[in-house]
């Protein structure tokens, strides 16, 4: 009945059967796949702690920076750089920081009850600080995680806009652990600051406290501000690009949305800056990707071209996540009831209690965003969060990252039900072509 079609398919099969098989390359691929799998079997979980605005993580490896093995080796030989090498793989700005020797080794150690924390080095600019440190313990570390980092400048706490740190999982017989903290400042740090102090607490051993004062020699780079104030329209939604500020650690793009928009614009997946040669700086994909100011302005983080200083810079974006303003997630935590979820059925609430909700989103492959953000109660009051976490799970058939989970932990149960949870990201898209030329001031 379908002889003609079946004949064409058979010819195609024949061709596939005669395909030359790259035996050796495939054996390599199998070994590499097994190795990678061994490394990645840990569940990824990071925590965010934020006092003012809520910040959530992007943990996607959408683009990766090509780093030569020689470069990676050279960087690895610096003390405590393993965690930072991991960051460099995914961030051109981080690579430029190392290339330009903006990383500074510091020397500070603190001990408490057989546990020693050694600060290896820092990268500090006006937008934040990345610290790498090593923990050594005389006894086996059952839970190597450190919590509640605080950074002080000249004795004053630097208010964080968000903090990201890696979450080393317990391993057997572990005595040493390399860790890092990515601390975003709520306000630009005065460029003359020299003296700092890091305070952290180990989760193990009923919370040992460590205080590590240190000072830096290198001057703090001044952020470069480009004021734009341009309104663009994508799929009928108005987006106002306020400004771009370029620091060594990141470029911050400040964006507002018109209040008459029918959709909430969430993440800009392909927001980027391109120079005259086509070189592209895209989103930060391993760390904090965006945050919201108290006045509602969204700040998106791009990889920095601070050190390249291209003559021509063009700001571009083509695709953004957006969801109708009517689509909501509403739950009653006391009754344990889900009152509304988005109509596409992708989101499922997997746990509810007065102090925590956990949700599962069907992403069908790489998504990589923590997708929930702030919570408001029945009276419209914000509900305080202590942390949010995200991790992903493969599907039944082994499909990687088929589902992403996001949980929110509430500071107390002192709010009025039901609560509405806003989305930070969602796998629904609108498309357009936004191109803005950025002129040097």
């Amino acid at each position: 009945m379908f002889e003609e079609e079946e004949k064409k398919l058979a010819a195609q099969r024949e061709e596939l059967a005669n395909l030359e098989i790259p035996e050796e390359a495939l054996s390599h691929a199998i070994h590499a796949g097994m190795d990678r799998s061994k490394r990645n079997t840990r569940r990824i979980r990071r925590s965010v702690l934020s006092l003012a605005a809520v910040a959530v993580l992007l943990f996607a490896f959408i683009t990766s920076v090509r780093v030569s093995p020689a470069f990676a080796r050279a960087v690895s030989s610096l003390p405590g750089m393993a965690a930072i090498v991991e960051m460099i793989q995914h961030d051109k700005g981080m690579k430029a920081i190392i290339d330009n020797e903006y990383y500074e080794e510091v020397d500070a150690t603190a001990s408490d009850g057989g546990m020693t924390v050694t600060l290896n080095g820092v990268i500090v600019d006006q937008s934040g600080m990345v610290l790498s440190f090593t923990v050594d313990s005389a006894t086996e570390m059952k839970d190597p995680l450190f919590e509640t980092p605080e950074i002080y400048a000249d004795g004053q706490l630097i208010e964080p806009r968000g903090i990201v740190w890696n979450d080393p999982l317990p391993e057997d017989n572990k005595h040493t652990s390399e860790q890092m903290i990515d601390y975003h400042f709520a306000e630009p740090l005065p460029a003359g600051t020299r003296n700092f102090e890091l305070r952290i607490q180990s989760r193990e051993g009923s919370g040992r406290n460590f205080s590590l004062p240190f000072s830096i020699e290198k001057p703090i780079a001044q952020g470069k501000v480009f004021d734009l104030d341009q309104t663009v329209t994508v799929a009928g939604q108005k987006i106002i690009i306020r400004s771009i500020t370029v620091h060594p650690l990141r470029a911050e793009v400040a964006v507002d949305f018109d209040e008459h928009n029918t959709m909430d614009i969430l993440q800009f997946e392909d927001m980027r800056i391109v120079d005259g040669k086509g070189e592209t700086w895209s989103s930060i994909t391993n760390g904090m990707s965006a945050t919201e100011e108290e006045d509602g302005t969204q700040i998106y983080f791009l990889q920095s071209n601070y050190f390249e200083q291209p003559d021509l810079m063009i700001f571009r974006m083509n695709q953004m996540q957006a969801i109708d303003k009517d689509e909501k997630l509403i739950v009653d935590t006391r009754l344990g009831k889900v009152l509304q979820t988005p109509s596409d059925g992708k989101l499922e609430v997997t746990e509810i209690d007065p102090l925590r909700i956990e949700t599962k989103l069907k992403t069908g492959g790489e998504f990589g965003y923590g997708y929930l953000t702030d919570v408001t109660d029945a009276d419209g009051k914000p509900v305080d969060l202590t942390s949010a976490g995200m991790w992903s799970e493969e599907g039944e058939d082994g499909e990687e990252k088929a589902y992403t989970y996001n949980d929110l932990n509430f500071a107390d149960a002192d709010y009025k039900n039901p609560v509405t949870i806003r989305f930070f990201a969602y796998p629904n898209y609108i498309k357009g072509d936004v191109t803005i030329r950025i002129d040097r001031p």
């Binding site: 379908f2 003609e4 079609e5 079946e6 064409k8 398919l9 058979a10 010819a11 195609q12 099969r13 061709e15 596939l16 059967a17 395909l19 098989i21 790259p22 035996e23 390359a25 495939l26 054996s27 691929a29 199998i30 070994h31 590499a32 796949g33 097994m34 990678r36 799998s37 061994k38 990645n40 079997t41 695709q319 069908g364 492959g365 790489e366 493969e394 599907g395 039944e396 058939d397 082994g398 499909e399 990687e400």
Partner: protein, 172 residues
């Protein structure tokens, strides 16, 4: 040791058995990848990715006698996701190999297959390229055999319509 025994040991977490299992099926998996991705490099990468995914979930392989089917399914899922992901990115047009006599036919069938919805393409692939039996496909897709047959029929008709449409356009 036969294949089922090998897969059984791999499912219990024996890395050597898993490696051997992958070696046994690597050519078939590569062909599957190539059928979808049409590119040597991307297909090798697919084998690496599928190895990683399979290794992570090998303990869930309940019926070792279906190890190859299970691997094929993971591969097809990966390839279809890859194609979707690539479709979202600005793509570089792939030029056909020059100097091939059957170039036109080959491109036409590729194009026709690409025009099919994911499920239809998967069924056609399993039936005509992997040469699986209707019963095996039904098991893999977890749909009744009758449904497999009717969907295959429907998919072939879509292919025919595609060819007919193309033919018409060519004459203009």
């Amino acid at each position: 040791m036969d294949e089922t025994e090998l897969a059984g040991r791999a499912a219990k977490g024996d890395p050597d058995a898993f490696l051997l299992l992958m070696e046994t099926h690597k050519a078939a998996l590569y062909r599957t990848a190539f059928a979808f991705l049409k590119n040597e490099h991307a297909s090798i990468e697919a084998v690496q990715e599928v190895t990683a995914r399979a290794y992570r979930s090998v303990r869930r392989l309940k019926n070792p006698e279906f190890a190859k089917t299970w691997l094929t399914r993971i591969m097809i899922n990966y390839c279809q996701d890859e194609l979707k992901r690539k479709g979202r990115e600005p793509s570089v047009d792939r030029l056909p190999d020059a100097g091939r006599t059957d170039r036109h036919d080959r491109l036409e069938i590729d194009e026709a297959l690409q025009s099919l919805p994911d499920e239809a393409r998967r069924l056609i692939h399993l039936k005509y390229f992997e040469e699986m039996k209707i019963r095996e496909i039904a098991e893999l897709e977890q749909i009744p055999e009758g449904t497999v047959k009717s969907r295959l029929y429907h998919s072939l008709r879509q292919l025919r319509e595609f060819f007919a449409g193309k033919g018409g356009n060519r004459d203009v």
